[in-house]
Amino acid sequence: MAALDRPELDVKEGVDQDTVDAVAKLSGKYKYGWETEIEMEYAPKGVNPDIVRLISEKNEEPEWMTEWRLAAFERWETMTEPKWAMVNYPEIDFQDQYYYARPKSMVEKPKSLDDVDPKLLETYKKLGIPLKEQMILAGVEGAEDYKEGERKVAVDAVFDSVSVGTTFKKELEKAGVIFCSISEAIKNHPELVKKYLGSVVPVSDNYYATLNSAVFSDGSFVYIPPNTRCPMELSTYFRINAENTGQFERTLIIADKGSYVSYLEGCTAPQRDTAQLHAAVVEIIVEEDAEVKYSTVQNWFPGDENGKGGIYNFVTKRADCRGDRSKVMWTQVETGSAVTWKYPSCILRGNDSQGEFYSIAIANNYQQADTGTKMIHLGKNTKSRIVSKGISAGKAQNTYRGLVSMHPKAKNSRNYTQCDSLLIGSQCGAHTVPYIEVKNNSSRVEHEATTSKVDDDQLFYCRQRGMDEEEAVALVVNGFCKEVLQALPMEFAMEAQQLVAISLEGSVG
């Protein structure tokens, strides 16, 4: 923070003070750094087949799941940590942390939300999960009788290794939507889990995904039946609380033919001196004519201003647009984590399928973010769009890394990529590492990373109405930002508002 607090900070021309302040505020004192004092139950430190079995046992999993995990673990032992990302962190001792931690009060799974430990509910209240949901989480009578027209968000709350509870279950069931923790899904919907788990991110996909496959403790499961528009937004809130504990959650979203769902994800963790590991896997299956919107505000503890502590966020997220005309949209705001390694990707397998990726990554102090996307065009007439804005301040390093691949059969496909970076202060870094692979000539790929490249038509329109150039640019840029941010859930409204204040003028590509 030090660099940003000083008003005399020498920022380059074109970066106004509001922007600097907005970034400072946003990445300033970490609001969620407190800790819930609650009795916890831990698995022994370290990871080995026994721990894997133990986790499986705690989740009361069937044999096939245990075997699946053990196979993943065996595979993991043969792998090495990837080193290609532009991030530096001390060697992680994978044996020096806990792989399973749950509040003691959750040992006996609460039969209803009434039985949930009030301390846990308090935690979520403090994190700002909307009150109505609080009531439902707490099982207040009548809370489910929502007034018509009110905005509803169903929440699955994950605390360290376990899911605390899921709201609006009944109403979702009415629509045929399954929304529960993945541990419940393994028990209650094994046919779906068996069919889809690991089908987008294979067990051996990468080091962290493989580790996750072996030790994931909980996460969310979503199934939207054919031709169903999910009646409300679904959301998962991840909270790491226990010290020295890795969180490995697994999310599986299946959007069957012609369905639609908007899914939100939020995450926070207490402020601690030692770094903590978070390695999640998100798999999304999008069938014919289905659409999934996935939004994240990633706000894990980023470490203090001297780079001490923070979450190592090594996440594998991938959507498989299997059906024709399927669509997926990733929106992410990355403000937290000491180290981020995350590339939400789209496999555009179905003809006419679409993938979109909007990202704002803010890194301050000693944060390091290496993030971006992969757009793999396999089907005909597939479209993808990538908009990435990286902001670095303090001594942070921010890297956009992306792949756009047009396979020989992906005729008439289209990609547009834009990635801009902004540096505030002279000790940070901004990097761009795009890979562009075009293997047919009817597709068009455009990648640009330029400053203030706003749409000429929009500019012209504004100017025609009497705005001067600067005003017009400001309006267009702001409008564009909103486009990304409006896709975000209400829970993130505060952050979103502050983000809108950030102008990216004077960016570098």
């Binding site: 002279s426 990097h431 570098v508």
Partner: protein, 428 residues
């Protein structure tokens, strides 16, 4: 870290088949150190990040794959220019075919002659710039070159030179395997134009080290040429002083495999570096790879990369360009554009345009596009009675024009433009 076995084995086999040239004199140390560097880093394999798009196997194999000599009745490129000609046949200096090496403002010597002297200016540069260019990205084939180069030329420029120096590489032996290493030093305020042309050999590994002192300038134009089956890996390593200028343009037509690496270090304030390339690739076996790394380590420097590739019949074009702006290199102006034009559905364009920036007051941008010819433009020309082939060529030339414009000398630019037109036409 120990090398992967596959890499270690390939490297051992290749090194065992080579012997360090005798009579290296002052260069002995540089050669030996280069040899140990190659052994330590290993020769490239396809799994290496910087070779992900280009398979280096045929560049590292013990024997060079044969390459038929291209028969053509056309005059060599740059033939009509007033120039000082230096000829290499299959990588061996040909004194008879070459002009007298004396020219006002330049000292030109054959590498072996220079190495024979007790003291020589080239000692401070031979393998030195190449070594600097090995971090952060390893370039083992360049180190291999420093160790085993069998011939080359050293040029020291002290004034503004009146005419270009032209290195012409002839290919006559179907199985020649040439390793050439040139060193150029452009002293303060001096300037020179270096031209290169010809296919050189069945397999050609060339390194050019160029030191451009303050206020000096170095212009480089090459036409890599036309033998269909030749393979080449070339490396330019240059360091630029204050207010100096470096401009390099490469035209590549034909060849099975071409990998051109350019490593530029801007170490003096207000220096300028432009690298450009145009390539026309034809056929499934054709692969052309431009790998550029520009480091800005001084203030107010300008760098520009313009690369255009026209690909058809299954050809592959690769571009890996990077701009690294070090901390403190404020007011940097960096620009990079790479474009692929795919004339049919089988061809590939693979690009990795990178930026790595550690200074906040800079303007860096890059763009990369890939697509087919504009149907509307093609239709327009055809509706005016231009046959399809000709219309395609016109649009192709227009596409390549931006890269050709990077050539400062108009006479040379015109010649290359005309050649290109002929070559495109002849193919039709």
């Amino acid at each position: 870290m120990a090398l992967p076995k596959i890499k270690a084995d390939a490297t051992d086999a290749r090194l065992a088949a080579l012997t360090l040239p005798d009579g290296a004199g002052w260069a002995t140390e540089a050669r030996q150190s280069a040899l140990s560097r190659v052994a330590a880093m290993g020769l490239p394999i396809k799994r290496d990040e910087y070779w992900r798009y280009t398979d280096p196997t045929s560049l590292t194999s013990i024997e060079a794959p044969d390459a038929a000599v291209f028969e053509s009745d056309e005059a060599p490129v740059f033939n009509d220019l007033d120039r000082l000609k230096i000829v290499f046949v299959d990588g061996v200096f040909d004194a008879e075919a070459s002009d007298d090496l004396s020219l006002d403002g330049v000292e030109i010597e054959r590498l072996s002659d220079a190495m024979g002297r007790d003291i020589h200016w080239a000692k401070d540069l031979y393998g030195v710039l190449e070594t600097r260019g090995q971090t952060p990205v390893q370039r083992p084939l360049a180190a291999l070159n420093t160790a085993f180069a069998t011939d080359g030329i050293v040029i020291r420029v002290t004034k503004e030179v009146s005419k270009p120096i032209n290195l012409t590489y002839l290919h006559k032996d179907v199985s020649s395997d040439a390793i050439l290493h040139h060193v150029v030093k452009v002293e303060e305020g001096a300037s020179v134009t270096l031209l290169e042309n010809g296919p050189a050999a069945a397999r050609f590994n060339k390194v050019l080290e160029v030191e451009v002192a303050d206020k000096a300038s170095f212009h480089h134009v090459r036409a890599q040429g036309r033998d269909h089956e030749r393979r080449a890996v070339t490396g330019i390593f240059t360091r630029l002083g204050t207010e100096s200028a470096f401009k390099s343009f490469t035209l590549t037509v034909n060849g099975v495999l071409t990998r051109n690496e350019t490593v530029i270090e801007l170490t003096g304030d207000d220096a300028i570096a432009h690298v450009a390339g145009a390539c026309v690739g034809d056929g499934r076996d054709f692969l052309h790879d431009d790998t550029v790394f520009i480091t800005h380590d001084a203030e107010r420097c300008e760098s520009r990369q313009v690369f255009k590739k026209v690909l058809h019949n299954g050809a592959t074009g690769v571009f890996q360009g990077k701009i690294l702006v070090k901390e403190g290199a404020q007011k940097t102006d960096g620009y990079q554009i790479s474009q692929g034009l795919l004339l049919d559905d089988d061809s590939n364009f693979l690009a990795k345009p990178e930026l790595e920036i550690y200074a906040d007051d800079v303007a860096c941008s890059h763009g990369s596009t890939c697509g087919a010819l504009d149907d509307t433009a093609l239709y327009y020309l055809r509706s005016r009675g231009v046959p399809k082939g000709e219309a395609t060529d016109m649009l192709t030339l227009a596409f390549l024009a931006e890269a050709l414009q990077e050539i400062e000398n108009e006479e040379i630019a015109d010649e290359l433009g005309q050649r290109l037109e002929q070559w495109l036409g002849r193919r039709r």
